[in-house]
């Protein structure tokens, strides 16, 4: 008697569990497009939205439905090749992108206007008189971009955020996180970039930062393909025209145009 009840109880529970699990997993199976699941496994999972959809799950379903297979920029050619293999369509090249921080105000070249000891986030600090940096449009260096980067491709070095363009996949999460809007995502093959976004006139920029763009237009005159223009007191490169020759970088008096 002392053996019968326990064993019967457990055989009953086991039977109930087995039957219910089998029945439930058969009857209530959710028809999932097999390919959507495979595609989701292949996608990097950064949920960055660079493909224009609300995240990897959403993009996986849409691709299974027939959307273009090379929209995942962080995944690059590798993911695009795998996705098109799953879908059985031809491989389409992905224009790889990479980010760059348009500021090189490290501790050596610029200072701070006050000592900030509040919440260690750029968003919080930038609300206090535009941030602690001497240059109001410069990088605050508290690493909001570092916190959101799923690929560890950006780090704050010597007070300014620097992108490791070899690891950067161009997902754009850091650009969204930067309260100063300093980070721009453009074609990964581009080599030249203006590392300054100062809107102050020349004299004020020079006072704030030794490596700031003073809007002298030397680069504009020297550029053979007319790819660089000074707007809003600082130079900016049009990456569709830039050939990467680097002449502007050599001529720049404050060396704020650099070869990445």
């Amino acid at each position: 008697m002392d053996y019968l009840i326990p064993i019967l109880l457990f055989v009953g529970l086991g039977l109930l569990a087995g039957v219910l699990l089998t029945v439930f997993s058969r009857v209530f199976a959710v028809e999932q497009d097999e390919r959507a699941v495979q595609i989701r496994e292949v996608l990097p999972g950064a949920n960055c939205g660079a493909c224009g959809y609300a995240g990897c799950d959403a993009y996986a379903e849409v691709v299974a439905g027939g959307a273009r297979t090379n929209a995942c920029i962080p995944g690059g050619d590798a993911v695009s090749r795998k996705v098109s293999a799953i879908m059985g369509t031809a491989f389409e090249d992905v224009v790889e992108q990479a980010a760059a921080v348009r500021c090189n105000g490290s501790c050596g070249v610029t200072g701070t206007r006050f000592a900030y000891a509040g919440e260690m986030s750029c968003a919080a600090c930038s609300r206090l008189y535009g941030g602690q940096g001497s240059c109001p449009s410069g990088c605050i260096g508290l690493g909001d971009c570092v916190k959101v980067c799923p690929f560890g491709a950006i780090a704050v070095k010597d007070g300014v955020a620097v992108v490791d363009r070899s690891r950067c996949t161009g997902c754009g999460l850091c650009a969204a996180a930067c309260p100063k809007g300093l980070i721009e995502v453009f074609d990964a093959t581009q080599k030249v970039e203006v590392l300054c976004s100062s809107v102050l006139p020349a004299r004020a920029t020079m006072a704030a930062c030794k490596a700031g763009c003073i809007g002298c237009k030397k680069c504009e005159r020297a550029c053979p393909s007319g790819a660089i223009h000074v707007q809003n007191n600082h130079a900016a490169i049009d990456h569709s025209k830039c050939t990467g020759c680097g002449i502007c970088a050599e001529g720049c008096p404050t060396h704020c145009i650099q070869i990445l």
Partner: protein
């Protein structure tokens, strides 16, 4: 990997409690005294060893649809076995462990090792791994338990160390002290292992100890989960 490597990895490199932050419930609850901590560690090691061996023996027999219930029944069976042994031979430990003895069944370490390791490796390796994890867990528990007992009650394994002069600090014996001592321990281990814990996104705890649910072991799950966390 050879057996000895499996064994030693559980003690330092992948210590389940201080590095992978698993099984935190007993670590905080049972470490008010070093003797309790030792008792809990040994009981958990026995269950871990037994269930990992049996699960790796049955790994090809158990179909995947009922994988979780089968593992849990085997583990709970071993826990009940341990509670028999303790009830008869070490009654004081049985009464001290109380409800936490049956909570060993849901200890994340056991289900984690069963899922991630025992169900994929040979019996020998699983046994070595289980033993390593068990010893690692017991040492970590002993460490936390000793610190809490010495500071909180001024004694170690019952030996009075206060010589009538020092006044013990009761907060270390209380739950609040448990959290703090464990936090400090993890910080020290974090420093010694060159910030591995802060960088590694908290290992399994990242997927909240739900190792039983991880399809491909902890890393795959926490990567995927980390993406959309």
């Amino acid at each position: 990997m050879s057996w000895s490597k499996e064994f030693f990895k559980g003690i330092i490199k992948e210590n389940p409690t201080l590095v992978m932050l698993l099984g935190t419930c007993p670590t905080l609850a049972m470490t008010t005294q070093a003797s309790n901590a030792l008792g809990m560690g040994i009981a958990t090691t026995f269950v871990l060893l037994g269930s990992c061996v049996v699960i790796s023996l049955l790994k090809n027999v158990i179909p995947s649809q009922v994988r979780l219930p089968c593992y849990i029944v085997i583990i709970a069976g071993f826990v009940t076995l341990v509670s028999f042994l303790l009830q008869v031979y070490v009654p004081e430990l049985y009464s001290v462990l109380g409800v936490f003895l049956s909570l060993i069944t849901v200890n994340c370490i056991i289900l984690g090792r069963a899922e991630a390791f025992a169900s994929k490796n040979s019996v020998g390796h699983s046994a070595a791994d289980a033993l390593g994890m068990g010893v690692g867990f017991t040492l970590a528990l002993l460490l936390v338990g000793s610190v809490r007992e010495i500071l909180g009650m001024g004694s170690w394994f019952g030996i009075d160390l206060t010589f009538g002069v020092l006044e013990p600090i009761p907060i270390f014996a209380m739950p609040a002290g448990g959290f703090m001592v464990f936090g400090l321990m993890v910080a020290v281990v974090n420093r010694l292992s060159h910030y591995q814990i802060s960088r590694k996104k908290m290992g399994c705890a990242g997927c909240a100890g739900g190792c039983a649910a991880c399809a491909g072991g902890c890393d795959a799950q926490s990567e995927k989960k980390e993406g959309n966390d």
